[in-house]
Symmetry: C4
């Protein structure tokens, strides 16, 4: 593993190691995968504007997310079925995050119980929530999350229906029945959820609420008006509606519409520290990664995830320093521009 120099090489190593009929689930996107590809390509059309002759002798990546301190502006995005890649699964990713001081967002489709994760890892955790058609099950889920130390709920709003992922269909991917899913499944996600249901969630838990999957200014305004605490710009890694803007391109309009009323996060296509720094420059408080973490998990379990986090942390610090900044807070809109077309 030590010879893997960057996230891209981790992804290649994972693809070489894991059964293609399994890896397809983690790697693939919806339909023609236009959005999957654009999520990556979009970064190169944003350029950093580095400032020189700034004392960057000490760089501190610490920041806060909804008031809690984390060691860097990068967290682990939730992704399902981690058990398919390594038996450690969500326990491994959560522990690696805790060791790194990074935020882990635990998926509804975890094969570990939340108490097990709490016992294993003493770090900041958010719960990713899919509201199930059986609402009582979701209420139980929220209660259990409250009891097991989660500090926020990230409600996924971009999966009222399941995107058409043809790699899975082609290779016959199916969730193995032996994987326990304690808190819900994709097929039972409630497609009728609306803005009014946010009040129901608010009534069910006093945890801060983040909406994951917003990509427009219109929904940002609605979210702010509904008092959400955070907006997570995402197109679900290109796995839902194909033909949506890359999150890094959608970020500016969301940040502008949020107008400081809530924190803004982003995921989708982040592979380098400089990608994270671009997100900071466009107004995100943090970025999240899933596939890079899946690759680390596949390559070497918890140690692999730790190594991926370490690589990205080092790249973020380097990019920050070369940009002429010593902390995430110093990165501003003046540090980024569109490439000339």
């Amino acid at each position: 593993m030590n010879e893997l120099l960057n996230v891209g090489e981790f992804l290649d190593a994972a693809a070489a190691k894991i059964d293609p009929a399994v890896w397809c689930y983690f790697e693939g996107g919806a339909e023609d995968e236009v959005t999957l590809r654009e999520n990556l390509a979009a970064f190169s059309r944003w350029q950093l504007r580095p400032r020189m002759l700034v004392d960057v002798g000490e760089i501190n990546l610490e920041t806060t997310l909804l008031g809690a301190t984390v060691s860097m502006p990068l967290g682990i995005a939730p992704f399902a079925l981690q058990r398919l890649l390594d038996p450690g699964a969500e326990r491994a990713t959560t522990c690696a995050a805790a060791t790194a001081g990074a935020l882990a967002v635990v998926p509804t489709l975890t094969s570990y119980r939340h108490a097990e994760l709490q016992a294993a890892a003493d770090g900041p955790r958010w719960l990713q929530l899919y509201v199930q058609t059986d609402r009582a099950r979701t209420l139980d889920h929220l209660a259990e999350a409250r009891e097991t130390g989660y500090t926020a709920v990230a409600l996924t709003v971009d999966l009222p229906l399941i995107g058409r992922r043809e790699r899975d269909l082609r290779l016959g991917f199916a969730i193995p029945p032996e994987i326990p899913l304690h808190y819900g499944t994709l097929v039972d996600v409630d497609p009728t959820l609306t803005w009014r249901d946010l009040e129901w969630i608010r009534a069910a838990t006093d945890l801060p609420l983040v909406l994951k999957g917003i990509v427009t200014r219109e929904d940002t305004v609605l979210a702010a008006e509904h008092g959400v605490d955070g907006i997570w710009v995402s197109n679900h890694g290109g796995r839902q509606l194909d033909g949506v803007a890359p999150p890094i391109d959608a970020l500016p309009e969301v940040v502008e519409a949020a107008d400081g009323r809530c924190e803004v996060y982003v995921d989708g296509g982040f592979r380098r520290g400089s990608d994270v720094v671009k997100a900071l420059a466009l107004g995100a408080r943090a970025a999240f990664v899933a596939r890079p973490i899946a690759a680390g998990l596949a390559v070497d379990g918890e140690a692999g995830v730790s190594r991926v986090l370490e690589l990205l942390r080092d790249e973020i610090a380097l990019a920050l320093g070369l940009l002429g900044c010593t902390s995430p807070e110093q990165v501003s809109r003046a540090h980024i521009q569109r490439a000339l077309s």
Copy 2:
């Protein structure tokens, strides 16, 4: 056939099955095929803006075209010489459309008589019309259409001359003499047809009139002033003048110029449900497909066409739901944007 996951795979299967010297006719475009390629590529430069937290528990694709109800905003575009792909030919495509509740537009170059199609299929049908140099023949054709249940005439206006399709020339494609063409041929299309002749058509039939092949605001204004009922934005699938804008890019100016005075349809390069939804967002009332239908017909006759329509219907429904809409009418200009360049 069941392993074919999408329209693209149907096209590949058709290309593998049908004699290249025949398939070239259906697949190819004019000259350098710039427009043929751009028709497809243009879709990825339009991005959907999905809205979240909308109840999409029930999605209804029904809409009306010139007042008649159809099951979805996608119809079968007319294309000639279907007999070359399957003996069922226009009967198969028309029946598949009827079964799906979709609109079928029957070509002038059908090898079935209109009465045969009427007898076989009880669904909405429009007649695609090429005005022949022998105008009497066209009058007879219009009269026969009126008697056989057609509900509108789609006059093709972008073929005063036949485009130069070099694939056909290279492979020596020629229309086999045993294919009966009862109502006209391409070489007899009248190149002198003008706006004044619309009055002559109006006098010959009381069916609603659609102009197929308009791509400019200027012609849209003329069409509206001449009282046409529908405008069909099309560049004839890239088979006529090479170097014309993709229909999805020409659509906005036509919709704006039409200004609600007539319905607007579009064809050209549609391969995915999300393509159709993009057309709706830009103001089209429906999209039409020809090559995907040709592929279905080639692969498995009527059943193949039915499967293609089913795939597209499912994709449209999914795209609609993921966009946060439950019907075609809800899709608006606010649901689409140009990609950042």
Copy 3:
């Protein structure tokens, strides 16, 4: 030859037939050949706006160039050393042009004497002029041109120095000494020629004067102020300064700056009739081609050139008709637009 369907296929056939160490001279461009490639690629970023329901039963390509009638808005650009491709050389190209009723522009570097060409071909001819350092030789040349029926002089102004064509250097191309060059050579072109020398040319001949190689509005204004009769937008086929705009992109600013004070022509990358029609739409009175003619000459001498002219004439007529025009004069700025970026 009859199986060659278009100019591109003629070019391929020529490349396959002619010694690479010779063909490199005709095919190549300067340095990295960025301009050579862009000259071709630029056409696809301009889109035609076809108008429908226009009577195109009769299409007439005739136009006038400096008052003389030609059969189409396409002429043969001058190119040197035609003898390397076919013994007929300039006689073959000039005769083919005359047969087609098209304008031929005869190069200074012809291996035939002007009187021989006059005797062989009874068609419109312009003389392409390189002013030699030995000005007396140029005066003789102009006098001979006047006596041998030329109707205009196209002074090449973009070759004060010879562009660096690395294909030639790589393959060791050199002008064979047995080729007679009666009127001048490239190495003797006078690099000190200025606007003031136009008066000297005007004094030496009463033939209309065209400047070949203008690409800016600034030089267009100067040309018009100096009373030239025509401006020929060209970057010498990408053979001089690499990194210059494609002529089709430079055309609009030249046309605008000329403001009707002189005719405007264009060459560079024309391969299709629709390319010529785009030039007309942007305000050119005619387009010129060299490499397509060289290919025809290489493939089958005069007959090959005739066939290339015939193919292009047919394509122009078809493009004109499909655009909704019946003559070059009808093509307007409203018939073209930039592609969406």
Copy 4:
């Protein structure tokens, strides 16, 4: 060597000759090398606007840099570890520059002592300075530079930290211990250097001061306010922060912000004389090259560097002449434009 026609071929020859584990250091860039590639690609999106009928019989490339006359507006950029390519190393490159009358910028990481270079080469030299953490060492370095005939100091400001160059990591590149580095190392560069330290440098030397590595208008304004004599637009050849604008694209904003208060230079991706002329047109006083020089050095030591300089000088002169200019001073903003997108 004589068969190498241009810088690109020199680079290929060097890559073929030098051990890949060594050449990687010279060839590679940071991380994904987006900037490395864009530095090259950016030139083709700027187009030259050549003017015709200008007397270019005599072209003189001479110009001045900070008041000193040089034979052309192209100099040798500093690059480290030249000894890895040829034993002549910095002595070879400095001598070749002197022979050509071009400016050589000698790197802090030279393996020759400055006095040796002074003795060997009688040409204009600037010192490239990395301020070391041990400031006394830098003071000594500046004093030695003053005594050995340097006429300016180019302070590198874009390497407070060392960029992540993965080619080196992959191939295990390390600086051989036998190479003497008398004046400093990369790992000892002081990351705490700020604008205030410019005063300290000013106090330590009366040589003119150039800042190398500026890419923004903001830093340009600061530099001008701090009275620097020159600004060198550079992203360190794509070796530091990946994702920065190509220097040729950043040049206009720097030139505008400098507003004539100091000279502006540029490096990054220059491979052709026309690239240099584009830089002049955008307001640079000179361009610098490093990899082309490294390639010349690798191919044939001092003679190779001389040949590269000769090739580029000839290309610059040719480009200048074809642009209608006879000296660098004549090239203006009117000679360049963005390509149409």
